[in-house]
């Protein structure tokens, strides 16, 4: 599947052939097994070189990337009150690659992904992803508990994928003794999303921030 990023014109039927050619050309020559974090980033830049992005290829390299703790060390920053988001690469604005650090029992709110693709790879410990259905629109004053679609465990390098058409999710570290770490890729990046109240389905806008960028702590809290 090829995704055309924003700011390009929609192709009509005549150009589907061209798209299929690009699908083959774009990433066929690239490695599918990045051996290091730097190589993963390089391959991502290659895959994002044009506005036509092969999302399947992106999923493949996220899956196959193994990595090791030495590579992640600058981004492993844990906080006692909340999970941290640590930007690894800003991808020229086309993607964001980041590492999230979850201390014991930490979890996220239920959130959407603002029309972006989200790949989440568990690189240490265990995560539980709970997917929720979008609240049905019953009007301003209705409050309905949100419906759980699925609950899956993520560990040992497994990659989860979500976008708004699939649903919403909450991610949490279920362990009370061990930390967990995830590698996230967002295509394209976003700085705002909606968070949802599980009890009522009501939603609010949230500003998404980084705890660190390139290993350096951001000053805002």
């Amino acid at each position: 599947m090829t995704e055309t990023l924003l700011n390009t014109n929609m192709h009509d039927i005549h150009d589907i052939q061209l798209i299929r050619q690009k699908y083959v050309d774009n990433t066929a020559h690239l490695s599918t097994h990045p051996k290091s974090l730097n190589e993963l980033i390089e391959l991502l830049y290659e895959a994002f070189a044009t506005n036509d992005v092969n999302i399947d290829y992106v999923h493949t390299i996220m899956n196959n990337y193994k990595g090791n703790v030495k590579e992640w060390a600058p981004f492993l920053k844990f906080q006692p009150n909340k999970y941290t988001r640590n930007l690894v690469d800003a991808g020229n604005g086309k993607f964001n690659l980041m590492i999230l650090c979850w201390a014991e029992s930490q979890g996220s709110s239920i959130h959407d992904h603002t029309n972006s693709h989200c790949f989440m790879k568990c690189i240490q410990g265990t995560l539980v992803e709970t997917k929720y259905a979008w609240p049905k629109d019953g009007g301003e004053n209705t409050e309905t508990p949100m419906e759980i679609i699925s609950r899956t465990e993520l560990k040992d390098g497994k990659v989860a994928y979500i976008n708004d058409s699939i649903g919403l999710h909450r991610v949490e570290n279920p362990s009370h003794t061990d930390t967990a770490v995830t590698l996230h890729l967002y295509v394209p990046p976003y700085s705002h999303c909606s968070v949802f109240d599980e009890r009522t389905g009501r939603t609010k806008e949230a500003h998404v921030t980084f705890y660190s960028i390139n290993g350096l702590l951001t000053t805002s809290e």
């Binding site: 006692p80 009150n81 029992s105 979890g107 239920i110 410990g125 362990s175 009370h176 003794t177």
Partner: protein, 384 residues
Amino acid sequence: MAAAALTTAEDYEGDYDLDDDFDDDEDDCNFSSETVLGDTIDYSHRNISMLDPNELLTLVKNPNRIKNFQLNSNQLLTLPSQIEQFQSLVTIELSNNQLVQLPAELSLLKNLKNLYLKNNSLDDFSLPKEFELLKQLEVINLGGNRLKQFPYQLFQMINLKEVYLGSNQIAFLPDLFQTLIKVEVLYMGGNQIGNVPDSIGYMRSLVVLNLSGNRLRTLPRSISRLGRLKSLSLHNNQFSALPPDIIRLDLQELSLRNNPLVVRFVRDLTYDVPTLKELAGRTIKLHKICYDDQSIPRSLIEYLNAAKSCLNPKCKGVYFESCHKNIKFVDFCGKFYLPLLQFLCSPACTSTPTFQMTSSDSDDNSDDVPNKDMSSKFKKVLLG
């Protein structure tokens, strides 16, 4: 490598643990050159089930030089008593072993500040009574063991700053927390605790309190005295409501997901029928009938003056002893809904379940729910 288990001032104790690296290829270490480095002995990830004291003392010429002992990720069942010779030890990392017992000689290490015992097989009899002598201990991690009781020795360790007891089987907390006045982090998640004792209110240094994954239905009112508390984790419990005092806290994070309050409405709680005295008192107050010590006894004046205002902003009524407990979801920061236990004069005063609390709504001065500056007090409330 050794730094992974050490806490620094700004880092949370739960730093990255090499043991959990799924792509670990650090099996073969050069035994002698990397084992002892400066003031650190690194025996971690060695597959050892026993520590031979003679071998250890041969390797280390001067045990008094050693400050850090990394023994994590092995199969140790205990430590030899010769550990007492390492008098300069500040940190002992024994996480991820099979410890069933610890020697009393550990308590003789007068410089020991950090003791990591996470993910072992320690039970209520494994920690020697002498442990209470470790009065300089600052960090203790007993997560992932088999404790059924809160270790009483900890109450004697008055210099403790961080206590981790996650994932055990503790069902009861003794009311002895008033000694732990230096503790900043208390992690009790993943146990079977049904009740939090009042003495928790004395832990004035507490910044992080994790009670997630237990069987809690309520919190003691003394929780509002924890003036430094910034992070309160209550998710995965049995909370249906919280004491309104919780608003007095200056929290940055509050997690409440997976509590009954989140997925279903709570019906009204019990209502005791008021006494005649109460009804008379209510009438006097409602109709603003004048009274003074010429007309009624002093004791009744005091009774009438102790009237509490009904929290329904549209009700001008009052109550004395007989009140109706209602759970009201209060909107904070325009963002999330926090369920507070409200005291009303009767079930008729229960208003709609959710409403926006603004300063114009409430014209009463009940001190059950302070109505000024609430949005500035809560920076983030995680309910959903």
